[in-house]
């Protein structure tokens, strides 16, 4: 089974700096965690929520730059469905949260 995060690009970018890697993982937990909380708070049944769109877009960028491509895909799905109704967006948010937990566990094992 493929790892939830492919760190190849990140390692190239930071030139194998392990201290920076740890700092980035902690920043990821902080940024992604608060991003999810904002999505939960803002995911009402207002169709076409711009706040939702910018929120999942931001999380997509974070996930892709980490190398968590599946998580990035789920965020893209959320972005593409920003006009969808509340129940669909809630379902996507649950998928994002579940994948985030997998990514988090993977990264915590490297701290």
């Amino acid at each position: 089974m493929a790892e939830p995060v492919d760190l190849t690009s990140l390692h190239e970018m930071i030139d194998g700096d392990l201290e920076l890697e740890k700092e980035l993982f902690r920043e990821f937990f902080s940024s992604f965690g608060s991003g999810i909380a904002e999505l939960q708070a803002g995911n009402s049944d207002d169709i076409g929520s711009e706040k939702w769109r910018t929120g999942v877009h931001s999380l997509k960028g974070i996930a892709l730059n980490l190398g968590a491509y599946k998580l990035g895909e789920l965020c893209k799905k959320g972005q593409d469905n920003y006009m969808a109704d509340f129940s669909i967006r809630s379902g996507i948010l649950k998928e994002i949260m579940a994948e985030y937990e997998i990514v988090k566990e993977f990264l915590e094992g490297r701290l």
């Binding site: 690009s9 990140l10 970018m13 980035l24 960028g61 730059n65």
Partner: protein
């Protein structure tokens, strides 16, 4: 470790010591240098290592100020005089202008001068904080519109200032790069990579970016399209108006044709898609060097 490092609120801490009591007694020496004026700005770690090689067994303190300047104070138990340290730093960091290492203290005689430096830096910090508070008001959509409507006679002095700033550092081996990215995580990755190649600035929003741009005239701007408030396209448009031929590279996690079209209107020099790719970023920087006939960083 006998060397104390103070890099948070260093100005206030040093001023407090000087005004309340003094653990750096009269048998101390001090040396101040303006790291911010150096072409190759050393990291705190590098400065610490340099100082540690000569003062490792002495009681010393290194104050890293908010603007990158450095104050070193040490007890005169070693044979190291300010003259010796001056020579060492000059050789190590290639100071080539006297003002880069312009204040050269006898600690005992010049405590008041040190206090004045601290006070001036504290005033700078307060000013920056006030500016940050008024950023929304300062860069309202109305002001953005005004900037875009500036007439050529108003633009020429601005462009001249930016040109002059670049000319001043044209012989430097490092270029200046501004990263505008509202996600701290993504910004840290890019800045972490670029720090080895360039003097790097980062901004989390368009307003802060514009401030940094005007103050430093960066050679390259990596600009995220989706920013909170004014977006990357709008900022690119303003920079294009204010500067002649800026080197802007857009960053995006999307693949929208509309973004490409708007970027073309703003004459941006390239695109980077997330996830970041080191080779792509390096090739953009190489292109910059080739187009501007600057010596490569490598």
């Amino acid at each position: 470790m006998l060397i104390e490092i103070i890099n948070s609120g260093a100005e206030k801490k040093l001023l407090y010591l000087l005004e309340q009591y003094d653990h750096h007694d009269d048998e101390s020496s001090a040396l101040y240098f303006q790291s911010s004026k150096l072409k190759l700005r050393p990291s705190q770690e590098d400065i610490f290592n340099t100082i540690n090689t000569v003062l490792g067994n002495s009681q010393a303190a290194i104050y890293f100020f908010h603007d990158g300047d450095v104050m070193i104070i040490w007890k005169n138990t070693s044979n190291l005089t300010p003259d010796n340290l001056f020579s060492l730093l000059r050789a190590r960091y290639n100071f080539d202008r006297s003002e880069e290492l312009d204040i050269y203290f006898d600690y005992k005689k010049q405590r008041e001068d040190i206090k004045n430096i601290c006070k001036s830096k504290i005033a700078d910090i307060r000013l920056q904080e006030e500016n940050a508070k008024s950023v929304d008001e300062k860069f309202s959509p109305l002001l953005s519109k005004k900037l875009l409507q500036l007439t050529p006679d108003k633009l020429t002095p601005i462009r001249n200032i930016l040109y002059k700033r670049r000319q001043e550092r044209r012989h430097s081996r490092k270029i200046d790069i501004l990263v505008v990215e509202d996600q701290v995580f993504s910004s840290k990755i890019l800045v972490g990579m670029l720090n080895n190649l360039a003097n790097t600035y980062s901004a989390e929003n368009a307003e802060a970016a514009l401030d940094i741009y005007m103050a430093n005239a960066p050679d390259i701007v990596f600009l995220d399209i989706e920013l909170g408030g004014m977006n990357g396209h709008e900022l690119a448009s303003i920079i294009n108006k204010l500067d002649s031929n800026p080197y802007i590279v857009m960053i995006t996690a999307n693949n929208y044709i509309e973004d490409v079209m708007r970027a073309k209107e703003n004459a941006v020099k390239g695109f980077i898609a997330k996830p970041y790719n080191k080779q792509k970023i390096l090739s953009i920087i190489d292109n910059y060097f080739q187009k501007n006939k600057r010596k490569s960083y490598g």
